[in-house]
């Protein structure tokens, strides 16, 4: 399976994505610079974390107008997989592939922690291999992870079951105590209506290698890879 990992000026987590895809999952990966417009031959595009364009104006607002993003929107229309983490999620919301906006954390603090998530659905290409119990713990590292949607749009998102991950307590309760950043309805990750674009604030790519101590994030990559191999 061929992956492209997008790199914008200010992206800084691309090597984490490339490393985990090549070394842990033996995937064919290439880095894609932001001025590229040709994504032909790729099966999946990953938007990694970082601070594209210094987070100037708003997180992801300037990256969204990079030449490569127009190509990513067309790529998504073909039904192929687009997966954004952290700053990648922020870019996907700014460009309209996913609903919502990531605001400053309620605490006004950058949060760097291990965070339990509840997997809401297992019938998607991103979560088919979710563990039983559906609670996984992966790192979060962000300053603007406070997911917000106006009430009407939030209802539409919830009605179509577009929420894939919610922040929760270690025992899996989705409540205020399990919400690290003030996100509405504890939302940590959402998919588009077609089901081929996922964005999430947590970093599953940093919890895949047993050497690091946790492999809770691996199921997302395993799900994507299996879906492609058997489709």
């Amino acid at each position: 399976m061929k992956w492209g990992v997008l790199v914008f000026p200010g992206t800084n987590r691309e090597q984490d994505a490339v490393d985990v895809l090549t070394r842990v999952f033996q995937q064919d990966v290439q880095k894609i610079w932001h001025d590229t417009t040709d994504l032909s031959g790729l099966d999946a595009v990953m938007l990694p974390g970082g601070f594209s364009y210094g987070d100037y104006l708003r997180c992801g607002a300037i990256a969204r107008f990079s030449p490569v993003m127009e190509a990513v929107v067309d790529f998504a229309k073909t039904g192929r997989t687009v997966f954004g983490v952290c700053n990648g999620f922020q870019i996907l919301t700014e460009c309209g592939l996913l609903p919502g906006t990531l605001l400053r954390n309620k605490s006004l603090r950058f949060i760097n922690a291990m965070q339990p998530l509840h997997v809401e659905r297992t019938d998607t290409r991103f979560t088919s291999k979710a563990p039983e119990g559906r609670v996984v713990t992966v790192p979060i590292a962000h300053n603007e992870g406070n997911y917000f949607l106006p009430a009407d749009d939030l209802k539409r998102l919830e009605d179509r079951a577009g929420v894939l991950f919610r922040y929760c307590t270690p025992k899996g309760y989705v409540n205020e105590a399990g919400n690290p950043n003030g996100s509405v309805n504890n939302i940590a990750g959402v998919i588009n209506a077609a089901g081929n674009v996922l964005g999430m604030m947590p970093h599953p790519e940093n919890a895949c290698d047993p050497v690091i101590g946790r492999t809770d994030g691996a199921f997302i990559f395993e799900s994507i890879i299996e879906e492609l191999v058997f489709s």
Partner: protein, 84 residues
């Protein structure tokens, strides 16, 4: 000509920056402060002398890039240096 684009958090949107500034002002003794909002002002130097056209294009820029309609509102005005 100078065009100013002012971008503010929408009514009802959590503005933690504004809240933090409000707390600090209270600690300094400014008890009369009821609420604080923090936004941003973007100053554009543009070519041309048609103010109406410049404002129209300023609003376009705000719609496309300078504000996020989910959470922010904006208004566009002529800069002080253009007002004379």
């Amino acid at each position: 000509m100078q065009i100013l684009v002012e971008v503010m958090p929408k009514e009802g949107i959590l503005d933690p920056q504004g809240q933090a500034v409000g707390h600090a002002l209270h600690q300094l003794g400014y008890r009369e402060v009821q609420s604080v909002k923090v936004g941003k002002r973007i100053v554009l130097e543009v070519e041309g002398d048609d103010a109406a056209e410049a404002l129209k294009r300023g609003r376009e820029m705000a719609e496309k890039l300078l504000h996020n309609e989910n959470v922010e509102e904006f208004h566009v005005l002529l800069g002080e240096e253009s007002a004379s």
